[in-house]
Amino acid sequence: GGTKEAGKKLIGVVTPSADHGFTAESIQHAEAHVKKVSAQYGYDYRFMTAAESGEQSNAVETILGMKPGVIVLWPVTGDELRSAAQSVMDAGVPLVVYDRFIEGLVPNAEISGDNVAIGEGVGRYFNEYFKAELAQGKVNYLEFKGDSSTVPMERTNGFLSTVDPKFTVVQSFVTNWSQQTSMEQMENYLNTKSVAEIESIKAIFTHDDEIVFGLVEALKNYRGPAKINIRLITGVSAGEGFMKLFENSGLTGIEFMTYTFSPSMVRDAVDLGVKVLQGETLQKEYKVPTEMIDKTNYKAYMQGDLYTTRYSL
């Protein structure tokens, strides 16, 4: 049935559609979780994904028309959902916003992984890792961004805020979160730049594990004259595939680091929605802590709750 079942409280969840690994995994978690809690507490739920803000506004409004008890919104991009989000608030429906915030709008609660903190953490890691080189002068790195939305911006800005100014970005790429794109970009880079330039690169900063996978393949495929001096590649997500890089990346001399940014975080957002329905009052802001993972601690991490929940489905 399309209307909420009589007497049942309705929880609405609206997310971006699956366009790369993180969103896809998150959708899976969100749906599984909202299904579970709805069954558990006797709620009804509606779940919708959308690729673009106009469509997402439409989804929000359609669910709003069903008189929900709460809406959990993960905007495609924060500010674009402002008007729709405001309609929700104006209608007196509690709103939980996840991951991408809406400037100037104060929903009942905001919850997110801490993108700025991730960037800051990577910056500090860079400083520490390349201490010796920094003492000598500048250190060159490449940057592979996700896309041009706010999340990558926060990660890059965080990074720039802590990283030593002697780090110099030689070239910056926009990958659209695609492993294949990053692979081809790296291949092209390696094939067309001068030996000196390639050899000057010491590190690569990326916004996502998947991007790293592409880079690793490209580096493995490289058989040109330049010596690869890259010593550190960083990702974000800390998923299964990245753990394998710690075991055996197939590349020698390169180390990896990533930050946890689990798709299962979205479950916390759904839980906040449930709390609203149960009459609890929420804090204004929740930050899901993120954790640095490198070869020193990944084994422990893989035994931990976060990791097991992520792969529980």
Partner: protein, 325 residues
Amino acid sequence: MKHPIIDFSNKKELWHEITNNYSHWLSFVFLFVVAIVVSPAFLSWSNLTNLFVQGAIVGICAMGMSLVISAGMIDLSTGSSVALLSGLGVVVLNSSGSLLVALLFCLVGGLLVGTINGLLVTKGGIAPFIVTLATMSAWRSVINQLGQGGPFTVSPAMYQGFRNVAAGRILGIPHLMIFLIIISVITALLMSKTKFGRYVYAVGSNQQAARLSGISVDRVKALIFMYAGTLYGLAAFLLASRLTSIQAASAGSGYEMDAIAAVAIGGTSMDGGKGKIIGTFLGILMLRIIHTVLIMANVPPFLNGLVQGIIIIVAVLAQSKRKNK
């Protein structure tokens, strides 16, 4: 004296006539019934007006797309053009402080964007698919560069007034619904009542014949893109008002496919020469009904695409039995 070629003596003829000329109505009614079965709440006034509101922005683009397709062309630059114009529109709005200036900017900008497509197609002699593939990529890039990743956000001073353009109502009727209906009526009149409309179909049907009839095929094509572009400008203005913040990377993305799908399930042939504006109008509503059904029926999110694909095929299949031989 008249010599009817079509003879309705046969009962099948009438059915043929209906399935040929009104098949989009059949698909529409079919989907409408499906929606009601899935949820009687579908029939509420708020939900019904919502279909129009949600369809309005893409719908206005689809009106332009109808002309493009009727003339046997295609436009892939819709979404990027909308993104470009609405991003810049917000900048103009914030700096001018005037809704009217921003609207004019969007319309004129749209005209310009359309003119560029039109010139490349006519003077450049490049296939519309390629031209608009290129401008799709170009405009997205330009607005990304201008935005540098950040959104274009309506300033707090303008926020309330501007948001009201898209969110407001007159006598309970949403503004967006009114915009959609007005543009649809204008386009329908343009196509069915004016010379220009005839020329669009003639160009889509047989370019050589059109040229030999003294029609400037190039001018018609250019005007079509200009009309479409202007409508994209209007859509951009409304999108900016609806979202009050435009993210360069994603705003409007996929609009071209939605617009094309609306035109196609509305019964307009992709080969050009034919096309009904009312069909496109229904096509837009059908797309919205599909989305609403997906939500109401709680279709698993990953399966939305499959269900949507199947519904589109079924809706068009209902219209296409005639074609063979």
